[in-house]
């Protein structure tokens, strides 16, 4: 197995793992805040749930990025052996690194925005719509990183 292939799959691992971890932490923050808020106001569970689910998308971007790149990489298999140039290996590694890290941080931070919003709704403030808008600010960068991963894979 060539270094290029190892690099490429390390990149894919980082992409799925870091983005997934980000989402997992993010939705947990939302879930924890929801449970706290339920004690004060249990009528707004639907709103809590929607806000808690928002940071779940980063992990999906990581997975969708993996799927796109995986489909592309499978076209480089010649006689059962994957042949990648060093350029291709590094490109996939870079895509994975970018999407992974941005997904990780944006998932965690989006989770904390949502958690604050949930706490606010629980205390009786009408801030559902505003929290939703504010919460998608950090998500944009994960979306951009996903778009970049797509463009990198298209250029392989």
């Amino acid at each position: 197995m060539s270094t290029a292939v190892i690099l490429a799959y390390t990149g894919i691992a980082l992409m799925i793992a870091l983005a997934g971890i980000g989402s997992a932490i993010g939705v947990s923050s939302g879930g924890n805040a929801s449970i706290g808020a339920l004690k004060k106001n249990d009528e707004a569970f639907g709103k809590y749930m929607l806000l808690s689910a928002l940071p779940g998308t980063q992990g999906l971007y990581g997975f969708a990025g993996f799927f796109i790149i995986n489909a592309k990489l499978s076209t480089f298999i010649v006689d059962g052996v994957m042949v990648l140039t060093m350029y291709q290996g590094v490109a996939v590694f870079a895509a994975g690194l970018a999407l992974g890290f941005v997904g990780l941080m944006s998932g965690i931070k989006q989770g904390s925005v949502c958690a604050n919003g949930i706490a606010g709704i629980g205390s009786g403030y009408d801030i559902f719509g505003k929290t939703m808008v504010l919460a998608v600010f950090p998500e944009l960068y994960a979306i951009i990183a996903f778009a970049a991963a797509f463009l990198i894979s298209a250029g392989l």
């Binding site: 689910a53 928002l54 779940g56 999906l60 799927f67 796109i68 559902f128 939703m132 998608v136 979306i143």
Partner: protein, 422 residues
């Protein structure tokens, strides 16, 4: 030996069960008559509380011999109110409010854009003197939702599902269902443009029906450009609204800086298209557009201060707007990426389902169907949440900013009879 024989106990149980049944029936009957009664009592209490609130809001004049109540009424209901006041012994003064009063707003929209009012309210109502932007963002919101979800199959589900539900639904949620139908329609359109149907990529499959029109589908690169073009259109449209709004609120002189920006952006866009088609090939026209626009921006940045200060302020405005617009435009890339990710996830679900079907297990057909249903339901839920929230951000941040929307209006909540459904 037990104290009582068994048949007697069994008899007793039957009797008690009969009694329980009767009591339950009584409770049911009681509920049937009492719930409406309770609701009507609740109605009366709410009305009384409203009335007391209105009374508390009056202020006493002339040592409380006269009670004064100030209120607003929409123009179309003014006649009725005047009639009522004339019939009842009330002294009243009618006045048109000035802009300095914090006048409550009542939105007036047509049948289509009224559906989008709840979305606008999530952010803020316009102030009384501002334009109501609901009608302006409604078509964009619809298109953006469609772009993000971008699957003709899902759109069809939304359209028919909400349609069927509408037949049985109560009147107060019907507008919401109509909104869902419009969003579904937009999703069908964008699903057709990108060639996605329940995660099936119509560009890559060999279905004879689509063989002829395959070239009409847009590939991802074109979708990327389409997202940016839609963004540019919305931003320029926003500036146009800002211009109209400033003319309406402050006067023509104050709108000229925005006119300058419009000249620059719309002019450059038209020039780029024309020069790509090689109708124009001199750059002089472009320079003319840029200098004319800059002239307006620099000289009319703030008509209240002297010319030199205006140029300084204009330069700062130029810097912040150019960097801002660039960021705003890039923000629309999300439309493309969200559409792509929901399509990819739909595709993954189909892929795994087909692998299940290919396995040797006896129950594979059941698992195939269950997995497809489960997977697509999950994808629809997650993707439509994202497709709702992201266009909302584009509306409230990118569009409202360029349209110069301030907001902060107070909702018109009239003192009226309660209408709780019993």
């Amino acid at each position: 030996m037990p104290e009582r024989p068994f048949p007697a106990i069994a008899q007793n149980i039957l009797k008690i069960e009969e009694e329980i049944k009767n009591i339950n029936e009584d409770i049911d009957n009681y509920a049937k008559t009492s719930i409406p009664a309770l609701k009507s009592v609740k109605n009366t209490i709410a009305e009384n509380s409203d009335f007391n609130k209105a009374v508390l809001n009056t202020s006493g004049k002339f040592e409380d011999t006269v009670m004064l109540l100030e209120a607003y009424v929409p123009e179309n209901k003014e006649k009725k109110l005047t009639e009522f006041l004339n019939e009842n012994p009330t002294l009243y003064v009618k006045e048109n409010p000035t802009l300095k009063d914090n006048i409550p707003v009542l939105l007036k929209n047509n049948k289509f854009s009224r559906l989008f009012e709840p979305i606008g309210k999530l952010f803020s109502l316009p102030t009384y003197s501002e334009l109501d932007l609901t009608a302006c963002f409604a078509p964009f919101f619809m298109l953006f939702f469609g772009f993000c979800l971008g699957d003709a199959g899902y759109g069809l589900l939304f359209l028919t599902g909400a349609g069927l539900f509408k037949l049985k639904a109560e009147d107060n949620i019907k507008p919401l269902l109509s909104l869902v139908q419009f969003l579904g329609l937009a999703t069908i359109i964008f699903g057709a443009i990108s060639g996605t149907f329940f995660g099936i990529n119509l560009i890559q499959t060999d279905i004879k029906l689509f063989a002829d029109i395959k070239t009409l589908f847009l590939n991802p690169d074109n979708m990327f450009n389409l997202a940016l073009v839609l963004g540019a259109v919305q931003i320029i449209f926003g500036m146009l609204i800002k211009m109209i709004n400033r003319i309406k609120q402050f006067g023509f002189k104050y709108s000229l800086a925005t006119v300058g920006w419009l000249i620059i952006f719309a002019g450059t866009a038209i020039f780029t298209v024309l020069s790509m088609k090689e109708i124009l090939n001199t750059n002089i026209i472009l320079y003319a557009i840029l200098s004319l626009g800059s002239f307006f921006i620099l000289i009319f940045s703030d008509p209240k201060i002297n010319v030199f200060a205006r140029i300084g302020k204009g330069l700062w405005d130029m810097y912040s707007t150019v960097t801002g617009i660039f960021g705003d435009l890039l923000s629309y890339i999300r439309l493309f990426a969200l559409g792509l990710s929901s399509a990819v996830l739909g595709f993954v679900i189909n892929d795994i389902a087909i692998q299940i079907l290919g396995s040797a297990s006896v129950t594979r057909h059941i698992f195939f169907v269950v997995f497809l249903l489960f997977g697509h339901t999950l994808n629809i839920l997650i993707a439509s949440l994202g497709s709702f929230v992201h266009p909302m951000r584009l509306t409230f941040v990118e569009f409202y900013k360029n349209a110069g929307f301030v907001g902060g209006g107070k909702e018109y909540k009239p003192f009226e009879k309660q209408n709780i459904k019993s």
